[in-house]
């Protein structure tokens, strides 16, 4: 359940940014979460609902943008798509690929007022 820690961290950043720019209420938060990130999206949404209470983001909607898993396979010498850490390379069936994207945990944007 480290989704609670992640949401506390999200709220801290969101609050800080909103205040710094002279706003008082957060309407919407966009996150970018990689397909292979170590996060359960339902748990993240649930945790956000709890953590946002009594804050300037108390009514904020959470929008999650999922980013696809991308890797480089040295045997095929080309980029490939993966969706789990133990997926075989779709080209050669090997496991030598290295992840190049898809483990992001990022706060992208806010809508504030």
């Amino acid at each position: 359940m480290h989704e609670f820690s992640l949401c506390e961290s999200i709220l801290e950043t969101v609050t800080e940014q909103t205040r710094r720019q002279g706003f008082s209420r957060v309407r919407r938060v966009w996150l970018e979460i990689g397909e292979l990130a170590n996060v359960e999206l339902d748990a993240l949404r649930f945790a956000f609902d709890v953590v946002r209470r009594d804050s300037m983001a108390a009514e904020a909607e959470l929008e999650i943008i999922t980013l696809p898993g991308r890797a480089w396979c040295p045997d095929c010498a080309q980029p490939v798509a993966v969706s789990q850490p133990f997926d075989p390379c779709p080209g050669c069936g090997g496991f030598h690929w290295r992840l190049t994207g898809g483990n992001e945990l990022r706060i992208k944007e806010l809508e504030v007022e």
């Binding site: 999200i10 008082s24 706060i107």
Partner: protein, 268 residues
């Protein structure tokens, strides 16, 4: 700070009629670009810890496992074997109790316990505070024993040189796949309780194959903390890391010394 909305306005009481915000209710919504990693704060604290370790030549390890993998028994034996050679210290994370720290202290090393309470993992900020309560093992090894959990600790960098995952043969051989994020983040896998292998259905080759699927660079050492089988290879791995951390400290100090000498020559 404005007490109504905490916006940084110097007025502290109720909003007076003159205290107008450009963000009063009814104001138009605006978009703010953030583009910040959710774990950015933890990463900052981890970088601070890492710098502290580098300055003092400390080889720091983050030990991860399920509850019951034999991590504390392994640590107690490791501490017993090494604390005469160089300084060793332990930070232990558990939800409650200081039992593990007491076992480590009995084995001969300073240890502090972080009780995470509701938390399921250690974070870099908590480790930073634990370091204030512990004599830093300069030129030696700091073991950070994480909370027994194969999910959450994977994401939280503590400033360690390596994550070491302990898996025992009494667990499922497919754990490297089930908890792939953590095995992918680890530098070393210790396969513990090898003395129990004749009594359990655990396919070592399959387990190691799974581990290499998620992490082709992972090093693997089978051992038994109870009988001592395989322990020498683990201790040698630790000594190599400790020597490397010391060498890096020496190189850094030599660079600083050379720079200071150059400044002295330049100013003389």
């Amino acid at each position: 700070m404005c007490a109504i909305c905490g916006c940084g306005h110097p007025e502290t009481g109720m909003h007076s009629p003159e205290h107008r915000h450009d963000h009063d209710p009814g104001a138009e919504a605006r978009r703010i670009t953030v583009e910040q990693d959710i774990l950015a704060k933890n990463a900052e604290f981890a970088a601070g810890n890492r710098q502290q370790f580098a300055h003092r030549g400390v080889f720091a390890l983050n030990l991860l496992s399920s509850p019951g993998s034999g991590k504390t028994t392994l640590l107690a034996r490791t501490v017993q074997a090494l604390h005469g050679e160089f300084p060793v210290a332990v930070i232990g994370g558990d939800q409650y109790t200081a039992h593990d720290a007491e076992r480590i202290q009995a084995a001969g090393a300073p240890a502090v316990q972080i009780n995470t309470g509701k938390g399921c993992h250690l974070d870099a900020h908590g480790v930073g505070h634990a370091l204030e309560r512990l004599p830093l093992p300069e030129g030696g090894i700091l073991f950070i024993e994480n909370v027994g959990n194969l999910v959450c600790p994977a994401d939280f960098d503590l400033g360690e040189a390596h994550k070491v995952v302990v898996l025992s043969v009494t667990e499922g051989e497919d754990k490297p796949l089930k908890y792939a994020n953590l095995f992918a983040a680890a530098g070393l896998l210790l396969l513990n309780k090898m003395d129990l292998l004749p009594y359990v259905d655990f396919d070592v080759a399959r387990c190691l194959d799974y581990a290499r699927r998620v992490n082709r660079d992972i090093q693997i050492l089978p051992l038994s903390a109870r009988t001592g089988e395989g322990l020498d290879a683990w201790l040698d791995w630790l000594r190599q890391g400790q020597r490397a951390a010391l060498r890096q400290q020496v190189e850094r100090l030599e660079r600083e010394l050379a720079a200071a000498r150059a400044r002295l020559t330049g100013s003389g």
